[in-house]
Symmetry: C2
Subunit: 420 residues, 2 copies
Amino acid sequence: MAPKRTTVRDLRRQNRSTLLSTLFFDGPLSRYELSRRSGLSAATVSNVTGELVDDGLVVEAGSVDSDGGRPRVLLRVNPAFGHVVGVDVGETGIKVELFDLSLTQLAAFDHALSPSSPAAVASLIASAVRDVVTSAGVDASTVLGVGIGVPGTVEQGATAVVHAPTIGWDGVRLEELVADASESAWPLYVENGAKTQGQAEMWFGAGRGARHVVIALIGSGVGAAVVTDGGVYRGATSSAGEWGHTTIMYGGRPCRCGALGCLEAYVGAEGILDRYRKARGRELPEGDEQSSVAALIEAAARSKTAARVLEETAGYLGAGIANLVNLFNPERIVLGGWAGLALGAHQLDRIVAATRAHALRHPYEQISIQLGRLGPDAVAVGAATLPVAALLDRAADPRKPTSPDLSVELGVPERSTRVF
Amino acid sequence: MAPKRTTVRDLRRQNRSTLLSTLFFDGPLSRYELSRRSGLSAATVSNVTGELVDDGLVVEAGSVDSDGGRPRVLLRVNPAFGHVVGVDVGETGIKVELFDLSLTQLAAFDHALSPSSPAAVASLIASAVRDVVTSAGVDASTVLGVGIGVPGTVEQGATAVVHAPTIGWDGVRLEELVADASESAWPLYVENGAKTQGQAEMWFGAGRGARHVVIALIGSGVGAAVVTDGGVYRGATSSAGEWGHTTIMYGGRPCRCGALGCLEAYVGAEGILDRYRKARGRELPEGDEQSSVAALIEAAARSKTAARVLEETAGYLGAGIANLVNLFNPERIVLGGWAGLALGAHQLDRIVAATRAHALRHPYEQISIQLGRLGPDAVAVGAATLPVAALLDRAADPRKPTSPDLSVELGVPERSTRVF
DNA sequence: AGACTAATTTTAAGTCGCAAACTAAGGTCC
DNA sequence: GGACCTTAGTTTGCGACTTAAAATTAGTCT
């Protein structure tokens, strides 16, 4: 409630952050160009970049002719300033990947995960992170933080609390568990996997350049990451964006969440296959969800039943997307997730048509609907962006608190929420 | 795209704004208390408030004993610093109200409005504003701005463009039309009526103190104002929050927007009455929508049909609210609009139960569902808050551009978007 | 009246960004 | 090859800002 005070020190912090972020996203730039883009005077740019270079965050990267004058010296974020780790906790396994600051992958580990206690998962995460760091020959002290994407909602507070019904977690203090299981005191960032995947699409995929985007993710379940004004929208307790459990057919099919008529019950892989099974009147061939959905799409070329199920799916999905369009008025919709990409590849026209039929004309005219561009590693990459976002936001090593006294006074360790 | 530069001047502006806003919302406060709340040093508070007093924005307001020391001098926003006008453009008439800076109503005019051209409406607005100002004996030069709430979406840009299908407006540049029809050059703020009403509930009604709120408005149509992080959410082109036209029953009742199964077709007054008509099998007695809905609610005590229609309505409405809960994860839902208040008064328990049935447990547990507290003037009051918000945001007379050169350079006149 | 307390104001110091002057590093022209 | 131009980046001097500490002000208590 207390409005945040603004001191003269925040100026510099903010300008550091602005310049560092610009360098990060828009590649090597000269000081001159930085001045032009940020509106800051050349003098200030010179000062601030000087500091950033002294701190090792930024390095010079060659120079470029300048139409008959002193050549411009290019600056860029130092990829070797530090490393970040992204963890994707899935329902059947965990992925751990190590990146440098430019999010170039240096090493990756996969671990199968049989259902086990949160503490066991936490200690697996801790040891896998340590392994991936040592296996890449990276000095542990250069790791700036570890981002963890989990399949459930994450309450951000003094410590992150995870609710993930699909893996039986309810109120798991994952951040504490992992910290206890680790020897190193790397900052941990726990976030919903759909949100980390969305962030990855924003930074490196189909969301680049836009400020209002909804990334719709369809796999076995259905979720969404809502980006408003360039930042992932979290709501009051970080569980915003539960698109899969919005009602699209009042009184309709039962959903695994217990309610009736959720979107997920119609367009989630499980829902699609179940509808196909019913329409077909007999069991599907054996196989996991991904291959069954692929088989369904392939069958649509010959089978009227399969084609009709897919058409209906496109209709439901379009209506669901239209709801997002009407409520959030984004400039772009990104359709992702393995099932979303599969459906999109064969039914995008139909999906778009159904969206148009259900959305209001004005917000509909603003959007473009695109397929996601990132592969199955997007959750881990997105998780790894979390410590990077903290770095860009503070323009300083995220491991050192800006002002220890203040954070004690506030009671809650400050954590970045803006990401872009 | 260009990140905003921050200069040392912005510091003072921001601190002025912080202190002025604190005084506005939290009533008379001493400098000492301001220092405590803002975190600013006593010296800065003294400096800044001194300026604000010199500028006439703030006045002293008595003093309070201080347990045996120098008494605290209370400060408050000067209600007489200026006046603001709120206009509610409805489908059947316009309301124009004049307020002082503390949003105390000084005068009000109502005009019936038969369907007429946008230009005619604009000139009626212009003359009604002039009339209400002169009739209250207020000096025209003290009017800080005019807020206009309209029944449609408003694209905010260089000039506001209104799309309001219910009154036949499509792409009306209302701001320009009103400016042309006025002699005075008061700043105009055009905004969707649901959003202004939501803002009124946030400042003075059931939304006070919360930062993530959805104000659901049910009248003849259905809309919502979504407040995220204390500010009204607008989306990419300001048409966010079109809750009424989200699909809740795929393939269901036709809606006046042309789509099938919109929430509005089920819980908007028109939709309710139409469903009642069909359930009853014969025409309803003559009467306008408001009295017909009142009659329906009254009939529910005796008539099973009427009771069932209301129950069903509560069910649909609860599912619609649950969608808002799942997507936005607010801390509070405010149910408003004349039909919303009428339904809420008699069916709140049922609505809450239906919401619980359709929402995910975690976000559901965060919310409280309340009835709106403001009456039919809320749209006009909310419209009048727009120039006040601009004043608080800039902590300076909103009629004078902060820096004319800069706004020319930017191409677009800066307009406040944060409101709280 | 004098001591004491607590709210403001004044003062001195340090930070910040900016405009203008200045330096660096290259090219062009003769 | 040297005078001169062009463009990039740095240094300098200045005004604006916040802060901590000291001073002042305005009451209460004995």
